[in-house]
Each structure stands twice: as structure tokens, then as C-alpha cells.
Subunit: 394 residues, 2 copies
Amino acid sequence: MLLNKARLLTPGPTPLPEQVRLALAKDAVHHRERNFSALLLKVEEQLKVLFGTQEPVLPLASSGTGAMTAAVDSLFSPGDKVIVINAGKFGERWSLIARARGLQVVELCYEWGLAANPEDIETCLEENRDARGLLVQLSETSTGVLHPVQDIAAKLKNSGVLLVVDGISGVGICPCPMDEWGIDCLLTGSQKGLMLPPGLAFIALSARAWKVAEKTRGSFYFNLPKERASLAKGQTNFTTPVNLIQGLDAAMDLILADGLDVLYRKQWALTMLCRRGIQAMGLVPFARRNYTWGLTSVLLPDAVSGASVQADCTQKWGVTISGGQDTLKGRIVRVAHMGWIDWADVTAALYALNRSLIDNGAFCGSHDFLEQGLASYRAALAGEPGVEPDIVHN
Amino acid sequence: MLLNKARLLTPGPTPLPEQVRLALAKDAVHHRERNFSALLLKVEEQLKVLFGTQEPVLPLASSGTGAMTAAVDSLFSPGDKVIVINAGKFGERWSLIARARGLQVVELCYEWGLAANPEDIETCLEENRDARGLLVQLSETSTGVLHPVQDIAAKLKNSGVLLVVDGISGVGICPCPMDEWGIDCLLTGSQKGLMLPPGLAFIALSARAWKVAEKTRGSFYFNLPKERASLAKGQTNFTTPVNLIQGLDAAMDLILADGLDVLYRKQWALTMLCRRGIQAMGLVPFARRNYTWGLTSVLLPDAVSGASVQADCTQKWGVTISGGQDTLKGRIVRVAHMGWIDWADVTAALYALNRSLIDNGAFCGSHDFLEQGLASYRAALAGEPGVEPDIVHN
């Protein structure tokens, strides 16, 4: 306990800035009071900047999966056909939620570690002209891959198919301007890019999605048209986690003080730091390209136990990273760098991972892997050539 | 604000552990309540373990300098002769305090960066057989040097000269067992090794020092015999900073859960990390030997501005380090690694310092200075040969 500070480099929950923690520690306020309504309307305006939309961004008292359910239940009716991009654990979750709603699901599957190809989507749309929606992740957290949402949106432009984007490990981490790209539904959770504890989710619909939602009989709890009407008056349909809203206010102030450009530049630079550090260790990132900006998945050398590496990172160095899920269990580790994480935290995680790998019998790579990673961080932050993001220019 | 977390690597105030911050955030309790008395007596027992004494350790509502003043005013009377070891800013402070009390001061001066030599003290004692006390720092914070207090104590053993030790940047950082070494007065402040904010100081006297204190007319505020009598009943003479005492309880629980051995091993290992990292950068530590365990002073290359390096560390990397004092202003920087600081914080400080030096036109040294420093950290933590402390075995 004395030796190591606890450092949480997981894809949610993420560490909390002091400003947020102090806001969370405030005493309870009542969610029907006028002051609280004013606060709700203030953060709502800030969330619209983050989501890149003119439409309202609704807070839901749920996890991110709750918001995914809200999207499906609000935009589609039993029997409707939807296309699901399934390239990992969270793509699969779209299918499970859609099937639970009684939808016909057409899965466009990709090997874990790959991103969706917009050309495939074009073909799939031709084969499924009756599809009502396409469900995709902005960032597939299980593999560390960013799907080309902007390109997918371009393919869907005049199709009438609603583009529903799970931005849970992407919003506040990489750009995803909803209105500009033509996204019909964007949602996220509180415990990733937003630097808050879990317990809140956020969802926004496009104008045409709102028209559909108004005519769809959804769930009692996730009633988006009613939530929109309430929010216009600074209210929520049901009791909202008031301390999380107070924390959100602090988090959004922190983000918007520096601006989204700084936030995204930082996230990309952290990605380069982690990726180059991993590569300098002689390791192979699990995602070969289109890597997400908030998480680096690392293929472990054969015969190294992922569980043992993870345990050593925590017990010997105080660094908590995530393992692989399902078929990737034990084969990869995932170093998250989202939320209130900076270059020094990622540097610590790289060192902890390197030492834990060595302690588990693996090769250690270059002697200056930290400096190599940090040089890429600086280059990416400065916008030097050769280290540009490989996705936003799609 | 988004890019860098603020990291405070200064010799007080130091960062605070979460347990301490939560304790500090507790509501006020009254300092005459029975529960508070019980708390005061509990932390008192813990402080005795830290100080290595059977005598009481008194809390004073003051800075560390207040406790230095309390020591001088309680143990010496105007006209008394004392020897002061002056090897830096804080040795000089002993002289100022002693002269303010009207004492005759014999200074044993050393060039800044050097530690006292016990042989010199022997000679000085022979020349000043009427000396009543010897005032020294355990750690001279201005230069980063540890004085050989154990050896000095041995020289004073049968002399009747009271050994008064300012342990402000040493207690809770390196071993200084008061009773075992034969120290007559040991004192410290709250904001260094104790992981608390400033505002409290602690002082303990030996049995023979208590006899002197009982006969000395000291100050009204720093009345140690009265404080001792109060503390026996779980009280303080005047209002004590109750929230700092609550924080102290949390800090002592944290320290003693792992034990002093772990604490000191960590501090020594951090010293090796910083020192070897600095050396791998091609820089020269200002203190060539007897270096203190909570701070590394670094001689800057000529023509590099210390103020500019410090400013860059803070502004570009979020890392706050200290500069030199008096004649060392601009010539050295001081990287503190005391209190709630771990290996990853020191690693961050090394990188920030390296980049800031490069940005100020200095040479950068080895490409793997971080890994070199961290290798020494691991070796020191594991107790490997070649990286042992060079002082405790004196």
C-alpha cells in the first residue's frame, strides 16, 4: 500500500479528476428544485457540444448497455430488420439486445481485431433493402478497434437506414460529430471519456430518428420522447443520480475549458505512447490498424498467462489493466488510456507490463521502450508527420 | 489542465494519500471531547514508534520552524553556548533561532553540499567544553545532504552536551531511532514524511533533556513541560488543528500497516531511482555522498537557467520541483521524493526534467535514463548488493 499508488488503466471505471470528486462529494440536492433544473440545462448545452449535435442529449439513469437498449427499443419494433456490425463482444451485445426486442438481425461479422469495411456494408445494404437500421460501435472495446463510422454514415446517407452508434468507449475520446457525420443515434456511458463514475448514460437522436421514436411503442422506463419533453423543462422522467450530474458539470467544465481539440489530441498522443511503447518491447498490438484512441490491446507471447501478467501488474506495481474477453481471455491484455489518465500514468503502465512480462518468462525488448513511447507521444501532441491518426481522415 | 496531472515533487508540501484527504474532510470535532482525547493518545503511541522513543511525542500547532524554536527556547537560556552545524539554509536557521534566544553560537560551517564530519565535532567539543548543546539537521533540505547523526550522537555520548536534531525532512523518510542513537531532542513537521498538509509539528525530548526543560524558563506558547502534562491526559495546552490530527491518524495507520522497514526501503529505492536517472542523463547530483532519502539535488549545466527549467517542468509536464536557495538559486534544482510519492511519480519527474533541460539547450544523456533509474529502484527495493544506503551502517 505504501509502495505503489493505485493506477486504474481499465476501459471504465476510469480515475476521477479532483474537481469531479469534490463535486460528487457535495450534499444531495433535490431533482425537482429550480437550481437543479438550471444545472441540468447547463450540462445539456455542454453535452451538445461534445456530441456535435443541435438535438437534445438525454441523461439516463443506467449503464451504457441501458442506453443501447433504449436506442433499440425506441427506434425499432418487433419484426423490424437491422444490420449489426459484429466484430467483438460489444457488437455481439447489439445482436443480443436486438433479438431481445424481437428484431430480425443480419450480422456482418468480422474477425476480432478487424474493423468494419464500408464496402461490405454497401453490399449488405443491397442484399437487405428492407433493413431499418444499422447498429455499430464507434470503438469496439473488446478488441481496441475503431470502426469507420464516418464512412459508414456516408454509405447510409440516402438509404433511410438509421445509423445507431454505441459511442461508449469513444465519446470524449475521439471525434464523432453526430450531425456532421449524419449519425441517427449516438450514446455513451459516464465512466469512460467523461471522467465520471458509472451510473449515467447519455443518448441523442437525429431529427429523423426522433420522428421514428415518436411513433414507436418503446419501454416504460426508456421513453425517449417523454424524456425529451421533460428535459426541455429541466427535468428527467424519473429520479436522476443528482451527484453524478453535479460531477458531470465539473467534468464538462474541465473538458471545455481546454476544448475538444486538446482532448482529442491528448487521447491520440496517449494512444501513440502506448502503442509505440508496446512495439518497442517487441510486442504486437492486437489491432493492426484503426486502433481506438482510448485503449491499446496487446497480443501476449505464447505460453505467457494473461491472468498472471495482470495480477503481477496490480500486486507488484499498483497498475490495474484489463484482460481479454471470451476467446481472447488470457491471450491479450488491454491497457486503457481514457478518462483522467495522463502520459505519466501510461508510462507507469508500460513499465509495469514490461516487468510483469519478464517476471512471467517473456522477452523484454528494447532498453529504451519508455523513451521511444514518450517520443511518439510528444510527436503526436505536436502534430508532427508520421504519427497522424489513421482514421479521422477516412 | 487536461494534458497533465499536477505532480508535486517538492520538499513539502507533499501530495496526500486518499485516506488522509478523506480524514481531513471529516467535520470538526471538539478538542476537549473524550473521543478526541482518545484519538490524540492513539496517534501519540504511533508517533513514539516512528520517533523510536519511549518518551512522549508532543504535537504543536506550528510549522517545523516553530518546533525548532520550541526546542531552543525550552532547552537553553540566554548566554548559553551551543554548537551549530551549518551546512546549508536550515543549519543557518538554527543559528538565527539560537541568536534570537540570546545564545552564544559556535558555528561549525561546511561548504553547501557536504555533510558534517564527526571528527570535526570532536575537536570543536574540546575547544568548547562549556557548550550546552549541539544543533544539527538530520537532512539538510537545501542541499540534499544527510548528516551522520548516529555518529555525532556517539561522539556526544558522555559529554553532557544536548543533541538537538531537526528531523523535518528526515523523520518518516529515513531511520532516526531517537532512544537507540541517543538523541536528546528530535522534531519534525507534518508536511514531509508524514503525508499531511502543513500546520502541525512534533517534538520529543530525552529523559535528560526533560530535566533541563523543566528548569528552563521558555516561551509561553511553546511550553513543553506543560504540553507533556496535558498530553498525558489526552489534551493540548492550546487549540490543536483537529482535522490534521484526524489526518495524522489515517497517515500513521497507513505507514504502520506496512511497517517502517517498508517505508524506509521505499524511500531509499526512490532515492536510487532519482539519482541513477539523473546520472544517466549525464547530470551531476549536487550532494556527492551522504545523500538524503527524500530529495535529490541536481547541479544544472552551466548557462542553463534553473528558473526556466522549473517553469517548463510545471507548464509543459505538470511536474513541480524546487529550485536552489540563496547562492544555489538557479544553479541547482531539487527533485523531492518524500510523502505520498511513488516510483511512477519520480519517473515522470525525471522525464519532465530531461525534456525541460533539452528545451533549454542542455545535453540529454542516455536514451534509456528512465529504465536505468528504474533498474536501480528495483535493485534497491530488493536489497541487492551495490545499491545499499551509504549512511545507516555508519
